[in-house]
């Protein structure tokens, strides 16, 4: 589904990703861990198409097509979804209106009929029950005045509504209380399917107890320096990052 080869990316004049390679197949869950500033969010934003990030080398192939030239909205329509580390507040636009606009654009792209406000509200209500989202959040302006945890939950709620093929979760677990973490994880697990892949960026092994990954990668200084199974996360929890960082500088990843 997603094939990243020797990816180099810059923001401003600074190179952040320095030869990153990663391969994700449909149905898989990949966890990405790594120290602060190593480039995890950069990878997520590059995949979503943030205009401030420039791909300067390597390739990203998604569903057999080159991603680099595509606009963020085309990527969204083709099934890429990023749950932001820092969700953006949009005063004056209700969550429901915002989601319906995006949802219908995606439906149009797939050649499916658009949903009117009434049918869409029904859908929202169902999804909000599953994720234990307070219904009042639906009519409030997008993320405005939401608590940190509510914003993260709202991202997963959007994910559940938009049903992407490739879902990228950037530190969705930070800021969530224990119940919310469980609710969000259950929501994600329910969405796991053989057609859908997840890229889960996290600092904490705890999340991976709930969302059990197929692979764990360590990102350091813009490269993947170690990959393994779910046990790798446990080992990182115990030993920190120093032991994986050192050999990385010398050798290649994966």
């Amino acid at each position: 589904m997603l094939e990243i080869k020797d990816l180099h990316a810059t923001v401003g004049k600074k190179e952040i990703l320095k030869g990153l390679s990663l391969s994700v197949k449909a149905g898989e869950v990949h966890a990405i861990m790594g120290p602060n500033g190593s480039g995890k969010s950069t990878l997520a934003q590059v995949l979503a198409g943030h205009p401030a990030y420039a791909v300067t080398g390597g390739t990203i192939t998604y569903m057999g097509e080159d991603l680099a030239e595509k606009s963020p909205e085309d990527r969204a329509k083709e099934g890429i979804f990023l749950a932001f580390q820092y969700p953006v507040e949009i005063p004056g636009v209700s969550n429901a209106y915002f989601l319906r606009a995006g949802y219908n654009e995606i439906r149009k792209h797939r050649g499916e009929p658009e949903l009117d406000a009434m049918d869409f509200n029904k859908l929202l209500k169902e999804k909000s029950k599953v994720l234990h989202i307070d219904e009042s959040l639906l009519n409030r302006p997008v993320n405005e005045g939401f608590s940190g945890g509510e914003k993260k939950r709202n991202e997963i709620f959007q994910l559940a509504v938009l049903e992407p093929k490739l879902a990228i979760l950037d530190e969705t677990d930070s800021g969530l209380d224990i119940d919310a973490l469980r609710a969000v994880s259950e929501g994600v697990n329910r969405l796991r399917s053989k057609d859908r892949a997840f890229l889960v960026v996290t600092h904490y092994q705890r999340l991976l107890n709930y969302i059990v990954p197929d692979f764990v990668h360590v990102l350091s200084e813009g490269r993947i320096v170690k990959s393994g199974g779910k046990e790798l996360a446990l080992e990182l929890e115990k030993r920190g990052y120093d032991w994986v960082k050192a050999p990385a500088a010398a050798g290649a990843a994966r």
């Binding site: 198409g49 909205e73 969204a76 329509k77 004056g92 792209h109």
Partner: protein, 448 residues
């Protein structure tokens, strides 16, 4: 006499002394002496001070030069016209069945007004009629809140007004249906000076829409004054609609006086007029009186939109809040000046002022200035002003959910406006505004 004067050709340049002379001749023989006194005071103030220049701090960003140079005719008698009658029906602003009082080119129109169904004891009539029939209510207020010498325009209005709406809600009465006070400008190159007076007794409640509209795209000049006197615990919530011709000049002065516990809200929506200046003031004269000023302006082309507000905290424990937003396109120019006085006695004042401007064009210009003059020490006063473009992170966030950038920009522009629009009173008119602006806002943002 009056008919021939009304039809006289425009005198270019200094038309105003002639207007004052004509009015003096026309009214010398009629009207009570206390009204004549007000007119004299207005005329004297205008003759003494004339129009302000941009050297005057209050007019620094708003030049009246073009307005002064334009020759306007003065109407000294009401005219009847089928076109007005037909278009007046269209100006409902979501209030199809509400009581309405209609003023055309400064004159009360009995035919277009609909004043039945008001609760017993509530008076809604023309100001001219009220001067005759309700002297005890009118005399202590008329010209006492919006003083004839306040500005050149208030002076001209005091000297030249013909008519307007008078509304009295007696003590304890609650008027459920919103009242539409509609001014229609109809004749080109005409100057009209409508004057409205609201008097609410203790505990009285009223919601109103004060609208200025025109069926044409003519050039004319509306110079309005509104006074609102609120007794203890009275509540007046109003929307002010500027929906005039895109070539019109509109100057207005609104002054409210609040007794203890009274609540006054004015939400202003400006979409029309080439030149707009509104001086809005609230005097909080009794404890726990509260003033809320809201504003949403959509300026494009060469429009000039200026809101000058004054909130005067004279006593302790009064909250006030101002929230003004403007969306600018083309070469438009928006001015906001928010003055807040907190007098020495006005401890525990809680005043908040926010002004946000969205620039959709590089050629548009905003001048915004808070002016807090605080003489008490235990107060909470905040102000904030922003001038900016659409937030690109917001645009990107929308795009990441599948929205094309131009759609995202349209939605964000609409959202910018909605943020204040949802706080407007008079739900029927608020919804009408929302419906009538949505398409315009979506497109304004789309093309940004």
């Amino acid at each position: 006499m009056s008919a021939s004067l009304a039809a006289a050709p425009a005198i270019l340049g200094g038309c105003w002394p002639a207007h004052l002379d004509a009015m003096e001749r026309a009214t010398a023989a009629r009207g009570p002496s206390w009204v004549a006194e007000l007119r004299r005071a207005g005329a004297a103030a205008f003759r003494e001070h004339g129009f302000p220049s941009t050297a005057d701090e209050e007019w620094r960003y708003t030049s009246v030069e073009t307005l002064v140079k334009t020759g306007f005719r003065q109407s000294l008698a009401a005219k009847k016209d089928a076109l007005v009658a037909n278009t007046a029906k269209l100006f409902t602003f979501g209030l199809e069945d509400a009581p309405r009082i209609v003023i055309v080119d400064g004159f009360y129109s009995k035919e277009l007004s609909k004043l039945d169904g008001l609760p017993a004891g509530v008076v809604v009539c023309s100001l001219a009629e009220a001067v005759e029939k309700h002297r005890a209510l009118v005399e202590p207020r008329l010209g006492r809140l919006a003083k004839p010498g306040a500005t050149a325009f208030a002076a001209l209005n005091a000297a030249l007004f013909q008519d307007g709406a008078f509304v009295h809600v007696p003590e304890g009465k609650v008027v459920d249906a919103p009242l539409l006070v509609l001014h229609i400008s109809h004749e080109s190159y005409l100057a009209s000076h409508p004057r409205h007076l609201f008097a609410l007794g203790a505990g009285a409640q009223l919601s109103a829409v004060e609208a200025y509209a025109s069926p044409s795209c003519d050039l004319y000049f509306t110079n309005a004054v509104t006074e609102a006197d609120l007794g203890a615990g009275a509540r007046l919530s109003s929307i002010r609609l500027e929906a005039e011709s895109g070539n019109a000049f509109h100057v207005a002065n609104t002054q409210a006086r609040l007794a203890a516990g009274a609540f006054f809200q004015e939400a202003s929506a400006v979409t029309g007029a080439e030149f707009f200046r509104h001086d809005l003031g609230a005097f909080l004269g009794g404890e726990r009186a509260e003033a809320v000023f809201l504003g949403l302006s959509l300026a494009s082309g060469h429009q000039h939109v200026d809101h000058h507000t004054v909130i005067d905290h004279a006593v302790p424990n009064c909250p006030s809040r101002e929230f003004y937003k403007a969306i600018l396109n083309g070469r438009s120019h928006v001015v906001f000046n928010g003055k807040v006085f907190v007098r020495q006695d006005a401890q525990k004042t809680d005043a908040k002022q926010t002004n946000k401007n969205l620039l959709l064009s590089d050629d548009a210009r905003v001048d915004t200035k808070p002016q807090l003059e605080i003489f008490a020490d235990d107060v909470k006063c905040t102000h904030g002003a922003t001038v900016g473009q659409l937030d690109e992170e917001m645009v990107y966030y929308c795009r990441s959910r599948g929205l094309a950038p131009e759609i995202a920009r349209g939605i964000l522009t609409y959202a910018f406006a909605r943020d204040v629009l949802v706080q407007f009173p008079v739900p029927a008119t608020r919804d009408w505004l929302d419906r009538s602006l949505v398409q315009r806002l979506l497109e304004a943002g789309r093309n940004a």
